[in-house]
């Protein structure tokens, strides 16, 4: 099909599909009129049942924790997939850009960028850690925390050389951290079986003070594992993608 034919076909089909979807969307109760009951039940009982003041985390890591297991492993499979697709192939060699153009000096990272990146690294680690460990209390959790933690590592990359970054996060170690994160989550679920409870039941004592870090049982533990998994998966993906810059310049 030529681009023109394709566009014409899409304009016909797309107009039909969008009209159909809008027609259906107008059957919703209007914006701001959420009918319930799911969200209302959770809002009413989550605090009492899970001792978590952060209801979204209670849904993510407790009521619908099983979805989150699947979601963790989607990220896990994607990291494995990226590593598979981008593995070093026969005939490809890593060469640094300096070898490629020996007569040109790569401009060094400017002092300002280096300074700013390093200044961010520490606070980002703290913030990522805080987010990961406060899923049960505030708008936070393992995903958000994990992504922020991964960003801290990327700051190291921005501040210095890629090779330093790679030394900070060797693939074997990151792989292991990722596996412990994803496997740990699945294992917390299995641990509940040992008490004769259903998979992923919140089997730990829930604490007496609502909204404290030690409240809400397995939610904090799961959030911690999720944070590990997400941080490691994102670092792995970024490392794999950055590795390619070396390979491509090496003329793979």
């Amino acid at each position: 099909m030529t681009p023109g034919q394709r566009r014409a076909m899409f304009l016909i089909g797309g107009a039909g599909l969008v009209a159909f979807v809008v027609w259906g969307l107008l059957g919703l109760p209007g914006f701001g009129h959420y009918p319930g009951p799911y969200g209302f039940i959770i809002n009413r009982f989550a605090l009492r049942q899970t001792h978590a003041t952060g209801t979204v985390s209670a849904v993510n890591f407790d009521y619908r924790g099983f979805d989150t297991v699947g979601e963790e492993f989607i990220l896990f499979a994607a990291a494995a997939g990226v590593a598979t697709v981008l593995r070093t192939l026969r005939g490809e060699r890593e060469r640094s850009p300096a070898d490629q153009a020996a007569d040109r000096d790569a401009p060094p990272t400017s002092g300002a960028v280096r300074m700013a990146a390093l200044m961010f690294t520490g606070p980002l680690v703290v913030m990522g850690w805080w987010l990961t460990s406060h899923a049960q209390t505030n708008p936070s959790g393992g995903f958000q925390g994990g992504v922020v933690l991964a960003t801290a590592f990327i700051m190291v990359y921005l501040a210095g050389e890629f090779l330093v970054f790679e030394r900070f996060s060797p693939v074997d170690v990151t792989d292991a951290v990722e596996a412990v994160g994803a496997g740990g989550f699945a294992a917390v679920g299995v641990a509940a079986l040992g008490f004769g409870l259903a998979y992923l039941t919140n089997f730990l004592p829930k604490g007496q003070v609502y909204g404290s870090v030690s409240s809400s049982g397995t939610i904090a533990l799961i959030s911690f594992f999720v944070g590990m998994e997400v941080a490691a998966a994102f670092i792995l993906i970024v490392v794999e993608l950055l590795d390619q810059t070396l390979l491509i310049r090496g003329g793979g």
Binding site: G16, F20, L28, I41, I74, A179, G183, G189, A198
Partner: protein, 611 residues
């Protein structure tokens, strides 16, 4: 409390994590890695068979994290296992086991990632079959998808896998997001994600536009996954290039899972609310027949064996959709038996193709002509599987296809029977033509299509080819699968059992009571009328006729040019070649445009018919 239903997903996921974590330690011990992965897949298969047998007297429900429904409103996620869902999941686990066993000697360089991805793929398929929650269905659908995209691109050093993976991932992701829109839409109305609860809620009112749109959007992702025309274009691109053991899973069970998803969504959520109208049945049957015919025609003109098998899968997916779309117990039971029979023989065919690639280094039918004579055992297994694909009694495919035909005949669609026999003859004939040409050197080599030869010659790096012997780990899995397909067909009460399971699957009131009230439903609440499952002489004649017709067609294709009455140089199917080039362009933009147009048509038809 019985924990099997949780373990069938948790075990492969834990194993996948453990394999990745222990990767550096296992790097030098590949056999251990293989053994662990095979053992896990086999264990999952055994657990699922146990569940399948156990649920023959009533479905089982498992509430994750122990949150049971609260006054009829689900607050957690449930697994709902019946014989059909557990049986399909068991088929997936069996095929993963067979594929992993086959890979034992197949790949030369395998990192831990292959095993990890196969196990997450398995977990995704099992979770997809068993879940009773519509958003959870989307999650497992995506896990299955992401693992499958990565496995398709497993050999990134070649162009085909790259392109196949891109087309596969983009089309299927568009479908997944449309499905998610449908889920959000129905959630905005009902405030529920549990399928039974949604079904109860929307059944309270006559079906309105939101219900119709949500239904079409939710099944759109599943129609794409199950390669129904015109949503099928990605399939041939992806199946032809994925590593052969992965093709086994794609063709043998992943496509069928899309159809299962349509059936699950229909009979647990929308069926009663939409009132089982004739318009729905007609839409599905029309799509199914169109798919069956198009797939069979494209299949016959292929020379690339893996693409040929992929098109045959499209044709069969159309027949399965027709069986489901009849909305009768016998149609669904027939589709279920047919899926199992087809999954087993199609897996065997792909594995035999893998052996040919391993030994002879090509999947190009023209080049291979007569060169597979010394692969005697492989030839026999391939031929038997080809006869199974052509519905020869007593293969399970014969039973399943027979039920679909019988049910369509009894429900006022007598023309389906001859059309499907023609499709079977075309697809089976194509496979038997390959068998006769490659393994027995019959007739003349089919003419060379330069473009196809180029594609087939790319299949070089998947396995180190030109080996002298076929390892036992490669030939035993396909042989066992073919034997299983015959054995299934010989089970005398298979038809009755499958129909009973189908009646329970279609019993939405019983499903609701099982999930929301914790009832143990031994007898369907609103049982549909069962149809006779006995095998009549005319059924046997139809099955045997298909197989004989396929053999005759294969021989005719092989000896075509020796027939004196025909002008020399005339090649059947040349007109099709031009047509296929226009449609199967390989440009993902085209595929998405077709998806949009197809959905607009399906949506428009159902919108006018229902509201």
């Amino acid at each position: 409390m019985d924990q099997l239903l949780a373990l069938v997903v948790a075990v492969p996921l834990l194993a996948a994590a453990a394999i990745t974590g222990a990767g550096p330690l296992l790097g030098r011990r590949r056999r251990l890695l293989d053994a662990v992965a095979i053992a896990v897949a086999a264990a999952v298969a055994v657990m699922l068979v146990v569940i399948m047998v156990r649920t023959a007297d009533g479905d089982e429900v498992y509430w994750f994290a122990g949150f049971r429904p609260f006054h009829g409103a689900a607050i957690g996620i449930d697994f709902e296992a019946g014989s059909l869902s557990a049986g399909l999941a068991a088929l997936a686990a069996v095929l993963v086991t067979a594929a992993m066993t086959f890979s034992w000697r197949y790949f030369e360089q395998v990192a831990t990632h292959y095993h990890t991805l196969m196990l997450t793929f398995l977990a995704g398929m099992v979770g997809f079959c068993l879940t009773g929650d519509i958003f959870d269905l989307f999650v497992w659908f995506e896990l299955m998808g992401v693992s499958a995209y990565a496995l398709t691109a497993y050999r990134p050093e070649e162009g085909g896998p790259i392109q196949g993976a891109l087309n596969f991932a983009i089309t299927n992701s568009v479908g997944a997001y449309l499905s998610l829109s449908g889920i959000a839409l129905i959630y905005g109305r009902t405030g529920a994600l549990n399928m039974a609860q949604i079904g109860v809620y929307i059944d309270r009112h006559p079906p309105d536009r939101l219900v119709v749109v949500a239904f079409v959007l939710i099944i759109s992702g599943l129609l794409i996954k199950s390669a129904i025309v015109p949503f099928h274009f990605w399939l041939a691109d992806a199946h032809a290039v994925a590593p052969t053991p992965v093709c086994v899973l794609f063709s043998g069970v992943m496509v069928e899972l899309g159809l299962y998803g349509i059936a699950r969504v229909y009979w647990s959520m929308f069926g009663q609310a939409l009132g089982h109208r004739a318009a729905i049945s007609h839409t599905f049957v029309a799509l199914g027949v169109l798919t069956a015919v198009a797939g069979a025609l494209f299949c016959f003109r292929e020379r690339h064996i893996k693409r040929l098998l992929a098109f045959s899968t499209i044709s069969h997916a159309g027949m399965f959709l027709t069986g489901i779309g009849l909305l009768t117990p016998l149609g669904l039971a027939g589709a279920a038996v047919y899926v199992i029979g087809h999954g087993l023989v199609k897996a065997a065919l792909f594995l035999c193709t893998g052996i040919v690639l391993h030994r002879l280094g090509s999947v190009n039918e023209t080049w291979l002509h007569g060169r597979g004579r010394h692969l005697r055992v492989t030839g026999v297994v391939f031929t038997l599987a080809g006869l199974g694909l052509a519905d020869l009694p007593p293969f399970a495919t014969f039973l399943g296809k027979g039920y679909v035909d019988a049910s369509s005949w009894a429900h006022g669609l007598p023309w389906v029977l001859p059309v499907f026999i023609a499709c079977t003859i075309l697809a089976g004939g194509a496979v038997l033509r390959v068998a006769g040409g490659v393994f027995y050197g019959l007739g003349d080599a089919p003419s060379e299509d330069p473009e196809m030869a180029e594609m087939a010659s790319e299949e070089t790096t998947e396995t180190v080819s030109g080996r002298d012997r076929t390892p036992l780990t490669m030939i035993i899995p396909p042989a066992v699968l073919v034997a299983a397909a015959i054995a299934f067909g010989l089970i005398t009460r298979l038809g009755q059992v499958a129909q009973a399971a189908a009646i329970r699957f279609q019993d939405q009131a019983g499903y609701n009571a099982t999930v929301l009230a914790g009832a143990h439903i031994l007898h369907p609440v609103a049982a549909a009328a069962a149809e006779p499952t006995g095998i009549t002489v005319s059924d046997v004649a139809a099955g045997t006729g298909s197989a004989v017709g396929a053999i005759a067609l294969a021989l005719a294709a092989l000896y075509w040019r020796r027939l004196p009455v025909l002008r020399r140089g005339y090649e059947p199917g040349t007109g099709l070649t031009a047509a296929i080039q226009r449609f199967q362009s390989g440009v993902v933009n085209d595929y998405v445009a077709w998806i949009v147009l197809g959905l607009a048509c399906v949506g428009g038809a159902l919108a006018f018919a229902i509201t």
